[in-house]
Amino acid sequence: MKRTAVLALVLCLLLSGCAPLTARLNPIDAQVSLPLPEADTPAPAVGDTIAPGEVDVTLYFPSADAQALVPMRTTLALAEGEPLPRRLVQALLSDPAANGARRAAPEGTAALSVRQFGDIAVADLSIDARGVENDRQLFLMRAAIARTLCGVNGIRTVDVLIAGRAESPFVLPCGAGDADSLSAGYAQALAEDRRVGGESFTVRRTAVLYYPARDGLSLVPQARGVSVGADDLITPLLAALADGTGLDPALRPALPDTDSPFVTGAEIVTLENGRRVARLAFDGNLSAILERARLNAWQLFASITCTLTGFIPALDGIQVYVGAGQLARLESPEGGIALENGVLTRAQFERMTASLETIYMTARDGSLRALGRAMAPEDAASPRMVLALLFGEPEAWEEDVSRVIPDGLSADDILGIRVADGEAVLNLSGAFYARCQRLTPQQERNLIYALVNTLTERPDVNAVRFQFEGETIPSLAHDISLLGPLMRNPGLISRAEPDDEA
């Protein structure tokens, strides 16, 4: 007995000597109590509301001596659903309260439209803006708008038009502006303008190019750098439109990639009625070429029209000749467009321009794939409209993705979305909850973060709370806590390779 006890003791000691030095790492320690966000539970989100609010912004007004921009911090009150870029431009067009600054445009100038297409803003001012006293003020007006809008809502590029036309104080186009557009300065632009006489002299400008969406329904502006010379402004733009390098898979080049010259002639002419147009001649086999390239004629001409009028100064539109005949009518998704004097203008395609919204679906490797969807900026302002895209199936060209929403659910299962104070409260139906109970942990993660990441693409949302039938629940099916707000998960995102089909 004694010997057995001694042997047992030795055995225990030896075994304890072989034991690990530290405790095992468990992901969860059951005895730990973390703070609970119970007191932080928001009211149920019913319907779609985007809370009005006040925004602290910096407005850049031209200085009184028209030599520089004067920053002015102010707080703007936004009405419910009012887009901030438009409100900013309106503020710039009003009389500044500060001394030493002046309004960005002549008095009476109105903002015809201020539209945001992702990171591009296009501001179209009324013709009154042309009443600036000199070229320098015109330059400062563009710079003031660009500088003010950049950095707001993720805007990086600003195109300023006057009555639907690009305006430039110089012979060369100004191009779209960005946050650093003033760094070049007026003097540099002027010096460049004086060298235009050189045969090989070109300048680098940012042009807003309008690419056709693959869905065939809209055009999506994209900012690209182009090198242009004073002798030929059209060809570099057409070349850029034909170049699909780095283009989102949801877009396609506007011009087909053909061996033979596609555009047989391009010149800028002034018509008898005084309108300045770009006259373009296309190969007579245009229809066949477009069909082979699976392009729409309307998207081709609309793309060229919007791109050229947005870049080339004082260009009203384009005239198109196919073979020997002039294009007089164009069919578009909005219906037939009768062309006055055969001129295509920017205004004719205003409603067909769209921004590229990003939604998320599950890629084959389990990550969340960012997918572009062309959508009118006015629609994209509605979080419900954007989320509704998640309930749809992947597009035909999106082969390796699948939707994250379980089958049998629709956008009607979104009971309400409220956006306020940087948070979106997403109220989903009980059916949505029930359908999610059989999701795997990865499916649950992808579903939740597809919703979160899609909503946080909005500049006014940086976290999302979930409710089901107006109630906050601990979790959906597995480990992701829904008690508090969730920030986006950038590490889960994979991006599709740009489409090089063009």
Partner: protein, 469 residues
């Protein structure tokens, strides 16, 4: 032996465990300080993005801070992961001790853990069977808005520690084996002589006094073995003596009894018996009775001496006076046998003793000398003093004692010439009694003899202290 082995193992284990712990602390403390400082810096950098809910900035910070092998997580106030360098735990509540401490205002803390075979979702980058350290630092100072959790692998340090532990265990096993072998050897070394000794004792208890223990070396066990063997020799000798004594005593007692039985049976069954013959028979019987009486008296004397009791009449005595008394008593006998008997007192010596016992010694020696000396011989008694001892010599010119019998003349019932001894009326106990009395007085007796030339008995008695003073 097992107990010693256990003590050795426990001691070695404690030393090993302490050493491993010290080395582990040394290896991990510097690393922990550095990594905690890194976590602190990241937490400071995360404060603004977390407050502004800038997920891209947080993720970038986490990814850059994690490096190749680490992992960084940023939780909000409720412990929900809002940024993960691996983007796997976003949304999960990080219910860990370290996170709770950071969020509940207990400040920064860390812990090191062993990642099992299956790994852990928290340490997705750590290899299985490795060690990770989890650091949690509040984001936002005293009122934390979240926590930054920095997870690092400590593979190098952990492997070093494991190697040390393995080596320690190997050494533990080797030392255990060595201790076991040494213990076996040592215990065998110590217990074998004891076992042999025990075996010898057992044999002795069984009555076998011939068994001896093997003596190895010169250590204490060897000395013990020698002492044991000596004791065995002595016991064996005593046993033989006892057996001999019993045998001799029986024989000596039986002989007169047998004689008396024959004589009495003759008297009983031979009828008519001549009166002269009858008287002669009765006289013989009487003699045998005297003889028995004498033997028994001597035996009782021996028993009294053997009991170790000192005589009650111990006192300083003049040896010369004792010798003179005996001379006076035996002189007539010597003269009768034509033997010249002389006493030579060269120096007066006092001894402390029993007068009756010492008289018995001297009488016996002188009587024996007379008995075994032929007519015309001489018996000389000398008293001398040497080295604080009284030296008494009884020298005769008798028949002497054969050399082979000399060592046994003091044995009980030992007779050199058994027939003659009985004829002279000896019991075979006289010299034994003499020797015992001399020994009882702290003295010594020895005999020197040459056959047909005579014998010399020398008695040495310690001088009386009073005399000495």
């Amino acid at each position: 032996m097992l107990a010693y082995l256990l003590i050795m193992c426990v001691a070695f284990y404690l030393v090993s465990a302490t050493l491993i712990r010290l080395v582990g602390e040394y290896l991990f403390s510097q690393k922990a300080d550095d990594e905690l400082a890194a976590a602190r810096a990241m937490a400071a950098a995360a404060e603004s993005p977390l407050a502004g809910r800038d997920a891209e900035a947080l993720w970038s910070l986490a990814r850059d801070g994690a490096g190749q092998t680490g992992r960084v997580l940023v939780t909000d106030l409720y412990g929900t992961v809002q940024a993960d360098s691996l983007s796997l735990l976003n949304g999960a509540r990080l219910s860990r001790r370290e996170t709770a401490a950071a969020l509940n205002g207990q400040g920064e803390t860390y812990g090191c853990y062993f990642v099992g075979e299956g790994g852990s979702s928290v340490s997705a980058r750590a290899e299985a069977d490795s060690m990770v350290c989890v650091y949690a630092v509040p984001v936002g100072g005293e009122t934390p808005a979240g926590a930054l959790v920095y997870i690092t692998t400590s593979q190098t340090a952990y492997r070093s520690l494991m190697r040390i532990q393995t080596q320690m265990l190997t050494w533990l096993a080797l030392v255990t084996a060595a201790v076991m072998l040494i213990s076996l050897f040592v215990s065998r070394f110590f217990t074998r002589p004891i076992a042999e000794l025990n075996e010898g004792i057992v044999e002795m208890t069984r009555g076998d006094f011939s068994n001896r223990v093997r003596v190895r070396g010169k250590n204490e066990f060897a000395q013990l073995a020698v002492a044991f063997n000596m004791m065995c020799d002595r016991i064996e000798s005593l046993d033989k003596a006892r057996s001999q004594f019993v045998s001799n005593a029986s024989h000596e007692l039986k002989t007169p009894l047998s004689t008396m039985k024959i004589l009495i049976e003759t008297l009983m069954y031979q009828d008519p018996m001549d009166p002269g013959m009858t008287r002669e028979f009765l006289t013989d019987i009487n003699k045998e009775i005297d003889r028995l009486n004498s033997i028994i008296g001597d035996l009782l004397t021996l028993v009294g001496i053997d009991s170790g009791e000192k005589p009650v009449d111990m006192k300083p005595l003049s040896v010369a006076d004792l010798l003179n008394d005996n001379m006076r008593r035996l002189q007539p006998l010597a003269r009768e046998r034509g033997i010249e008997m002389t006493l030579s007192v060269r120096e007066q010596v006092m001894v402390n003793g029993s007068a009756s016992r010492l008289t018995q010694v001297f009488y016996n020696l002188m009587d024996n000398a007379i008995k075994y000396t032929g007519r015309g011989g001489s018996v000389r008694v000398e008293l001398n003093r040497r080295e604080k001892k009284a030296i008494i010599r009884v020298i005769d010119t008798g028949i002497g004692i054969p050399k082979e019998d000399q060592p046994h003349v003091f044995d009980r019932f030992y007779r050199v010439d058994k027939a003659r001894s009985r004829e002279t009326g000896g019991t075979g106990l006289g010299l034994s009694i003499v020797k015992q009395i001399v020994l009882m007085h702290g003295g010594h007796i020895e005999v020197a003899s040459e056959e047909n030339k005579g014998s010399t008995f020398t008695v040495e008695l310690p001088e009386s202290p009073r005399e000495n003073a």
